[in-house]
């Protein structure tokens, strides 16, 4: 084993890069397998084993390289395998497919049935950027995820890694770096959207000499995994950004706060820090500049509220992660009351790109007020779920219908919720809204950290608001009265409305409590917690009225307001629902139309699911028609023809 020589100057870094290039220059075929969280859950580990064994068996170790990489975002199609240099993408790969793939690599052929099928043209697609899900994306942050083994720093260095650090440290002054970031107009990707350069400058200008920098990877939004994907797949990009930031700000120590639930991210960033230390990108006298900087990993204990910057710092200090008043910014008085610059994972990962490619390049992507790209996690009632990276300013319509492929089962679009649990619902009339920090804010939602939940006609807007309120109720730290008690009252009130127990003064109460929470809560969890309710009330007020006054849920999603009914004209008396009903609530026999005894029905919906003739209907807010005459025969369908 070659002992590692620390890189002492920018020139030595370039030499190292050239050495890696010459060693790998022959471009032998590489099998890149995603072993990030999503694909591993779908069986990527056994696919990887199959490749290792298969290549060994066919004695191709010298000819084919295997690379264990991070996530490309189309997780529902996993496990994903890409064959370089031709960039052939295989999806839903099983261990049994591996032998065939290996043999085709040798023969320069393709396994057609493992390629992605374009759902519209029905054609097989070979390369990533030909797939509709990827076609309209722009992926400067995520694109290297498939090319890098996150546990191998040489892979990162090979793809120009740490060159931005070398440039910043040897050719720029801290002031120049901050100016460059300010010119790029980069805004905080954790959701607040505060101008990053100004934040850095505030910490740099604070009088205290001891300063800290922090990576916030306490990603807790339900269904969101943007930060995880970067930390799993390209941890050095985050680390390089952090080191540049520390140099510009004048910090000597940094923390990476990773939530407990991200074991792979923790493992990979820890490895990255160790390797960066060995190679001299961390520690004393970095790249011969005299700059010293060290980083520690802090594991969170699973509280959503700890993603709030002051709560996160309190947690690092070893106390309960409660937020504290931030009227003096954490940039001035943060961790241990020292000036602290905290940025989200994605913010830090953007830094090396801006330093290398320049502020102008960055500013040219996105909109006037929000430059660069945004990473969204597309989930909910949408065909293509996964992680997408797009330029700021893309319309919601393009995001949902082009990249996302439209609504699942071709249902009707109802709303989209952006920004995580405290984001707002955006109705159909704003589908052409250009997604950026300011536009989302204008319609009552927010960018947040990038969650995007698509809602279809079968989803109730009151129930959706209740879902998010209940999530936040669980996650509120409980320190301030408006948030703790406000969420408790809202949860109870919304629950009552969904259960048909809503009263006429409930909407007024919900509005008053929301107003108080919005204005008087201690931290952003409380001040934004009412967004789902307020936007639901604003854009879907008729649904609230129907729930309260008519005891009706048009989406037929609220169980207490929905009844199941078998249409005697449609029922074919096939006995299937009758047999499947767990409470034996369905009456009838062979050749006699069936009937649901409402007193026994628990509304589980199994009859609705199993009926092959669409005879079971959901009713809400209307009277159940009277029972058909005993012994009524089914009206046979198609009998007339």
């Amino acid at each position: 084993l070659e002992s590692i020589q620390p890189v002492r100057t920018p020139e030595e870094l370039e030499k190292l890069r050239q050495k890696i290039e010459s060693e790998r220059g022959n471009k032998k075929p590489t099998v890149s397998i995603c072993i990030s969280t999503g694909c591993v859950a779908l069986g990527a580990t056994s696919v990887l084993e199959a490749f290792k064994n298969g290549i060994k068996k066919t004695k191709l170790e010298e000819e084919i390289e295997i690379k264990e990489t991070g996530c490309l975002g189309f997780c529902e199609q996993g496990p994903r395998v890409t064959i370089y240099p031709d960039e052939i993408c295989y999806f839903k790969v099983k261990p049994d497919d591996v032998q065939e793939i290996i043999s085709t690599i040798k023969e320069n052929k393709i396994v057609e049935n493992l390629l992605y099928t374009d759902p519209i043209t029905r054609k097989k697609v070979r390369r990533l950027n030909e797939i509709p899900f990827y076609k309209d994306q722009l992926r400067p942050l995520l694109e290297n995820n498939a090319r890098i083994d996150p546990k191998n720093i040489l892979d990162y260095i090979h793809l120009d890694g740490y060159r931005a650090l070398a440039k910043a440290i040897s050719q720029m002054t801290p002031q120049q770096i901050i100016e460059e970031i300010k010119r790029s107009k980069l805004r905080g990707r954790g959701g607040g959207g505060f101008p990053t350069g100004i934040k850095w400058e505030t910490t740099r200008n604070a009088t205290e000499q001891t300063k800290y920098v922090i990576v916030n990877c306490d990603e807790g939004d339900p269904g969101a995994f943007m930060d995880r994907s970067l930390m799993d797949g390209n941890p050095h990009s985050v680390l390089e950004g952090l080191i540049i930031g520390a140099f510009a700000i004048g910090a000597q120590e940094g923390y990476v706060y990773v939530r407990e639930e991200y074991p792979l991210a923790t493992e990979n960033i820890t490895t990255a820090i160790d390797q960066a230390k060995q190679y001299g990108f961390l520690g004393e006298d970095i790249l011969g500049s005299g700059f010293n900087f060290n980083v520690k990993v802090h594991k969170g204990a699973g509280a959503f509220v700890s993603g709030e910057s002051s709560a996160l710092m309190t947690a690092i200090e070893g106390k309960t992660g409660d937020p504290r008043p931030k009227y003096v910014r954490t940039a001035v008085k943060g961790l241990w009351n020292k000036p602290t610059c905290l940025n989200n994972v994605k913010t830090w990962a953007n830094i090396p790109l801006i330093i290398m490619k320049g502020a102008e390049w960055f500013k040219n992507i996105g909109t006037e007020g929000s430059s660069g790209t945004a990473i969204f996690s597309l989930v909910g009632k949408i065909k293509n779920t996964g992680l997408v990276e797009v330029p700021m300013g893309i319309t919601l319509r393009d995001l949902i219908f082009k990249i996302g492929g439209g609504i699942k089962d071709d249902k009707k679009f109802k709303a989209v919720q952006t920004g995580g649990p405290s984001g707002g619902f955006i109705p159909e009339k704003y589908l052409d809204l250009q997604v950026d920090f300011d536009e989302l804010d204008k319609v009552g939602s927010m960018m947040g950290s990038g969650g995007l939940v698509v809602i279809d006609e079968d989803t109730c807007m009151v129930d959706s608001a209740r879902y998010f309120v209940d999530f936040l109720l669980e996650e509120s730290c409980g320190k301030c009265i408006p948030c703790r008690e406000g969420l408790r009252v809202l949860s109870k009130t919304l629950g009552n409305i969904c259960e048909g127990k809503g009263e006429h003064d409930d909407i007024g109460i919900v509005e008053d409590v929301s107003l108080t929470m919005e204005n008087a809560s201690l931290c952003a969890l409380g001040t934004t917690a009412a967004n789902p309710i307020l936007t639901s009330l604003k854009y879907f007020s008729e649904e609230w009225d129907q729930h309260i006054k008519e005891k009706k849920c048009i989406a037929k999603a609220c169980k207490s307001l929905t009844d199941y009914y078998i249409d005697p004209k449609e029922c074919q008396a096939c006995l299937i629902c009758l047999r499947e009903c767990p409470t034996k609530a369905i009456e009838g026999e062979k050749d006699q139309v069936h009937w649901i005894n409402q007193k026994k029905c628990e509304k589980c919906g199994i009859c609705y699911e199993v009926c092959k003739f669409d005879a079971v209907e959901k009713l809400s807010g209307e009277k159940i028609p009277s029972k058909p005459a005993k012994g009524m025969k089914p009206i046979r369908k198609g009998a007339k023809q």
Partner: protein, 206 residues
């Protein structure tokens, strides 16, 4: 210490730069209600009843005056229909745990702000604990005994104040926690002891 001038309810006041709005208002004799504040304890900002409107650089926002530091040319409004409405709702929310029969400062403020302490309480079905988790007792205890005997456990609505059993022997029964309690929850004697463990331990039952 440098001083600066700001305006509170239309009146100019000179304040030291490390003062909070609440302290500056006191200089003018303007009373801002508080539930979790104590002049000798660090600001905590949990009850939010001291919320006031501030106007600076053309923007208005609502802040907790017990924590917000004074700034030059700040324009503060301590009473407005919006502020009154927020304070009324905060009292009604506090009553969810404090109970509609809360005593002390809560009762006084409820009548001043016309708060119906049973309005929001009636929406929930929880048994009142009399405690609004203002943390005054916890903070007072930690200053009195250098090492707090009581503290918070739990998160969100499960948050509560408890005695740390291993520290019970330090409790000097100084009654300071009793003195600062704004709801009348903490009584040194009486039928409803605030930290049952304390009494149990002192009575030798544990």
């Amino acid at each position: 210490m440098k001083t600066l001038t700001l305006k509170i309810d239309g009146k100019e006041v000179e304040a030291e730069e490390d003062m909070t709005i609440l302290e500056a208002a006191e200089k003018l004799g303007i009373q801002i209600p508080t539930l979790c504040h104590h002049e000798n304890l660090e600001p905590y900002g949990a009850c939010r009843i001291c919320s006031v409107e501030i106007e600076a650089k053309g923007k208005t926002m609502i802040v907790a005056s017990c924590c917000y530091p004074v700034k030059r040319d700040l324009n503060v409004i301590t009473r407005s229909s919006k502020i009154d409405k927020i304070r009324k709702t905060i009292l009604e929310l506090a009553a969810v745990t404090a109970g509609e029969d809360a005593m002390g400062e809560m009762r006084k403020l409820a009548s001043e702000y016309n708060a119906d302490l049973s309005l929001l309480r009636s929406k929930t079905s929880i048994v009142p604990t009399k405690c609004i988790l203002c943390g005054l007792c916890v903070r007072r205890c930690s200053e009195a005994t250098w090492d707090s005997v009581i503290g918070f456990i739990g998160r969100g609505t499960k948050r509560q104040i408890t005695l740390y059993p291993e520290k019970a022997s330090i409790c000097a029964i100084c009654d300071y926690c009793h003195d600062v309690c704004p709801t009348g929850k903490i009584t040194s004697t009486g039928p409803d002891p605030p930290f049952p463990q304390i009494d149990d331990i002192l009575a030798g039952r544990e």
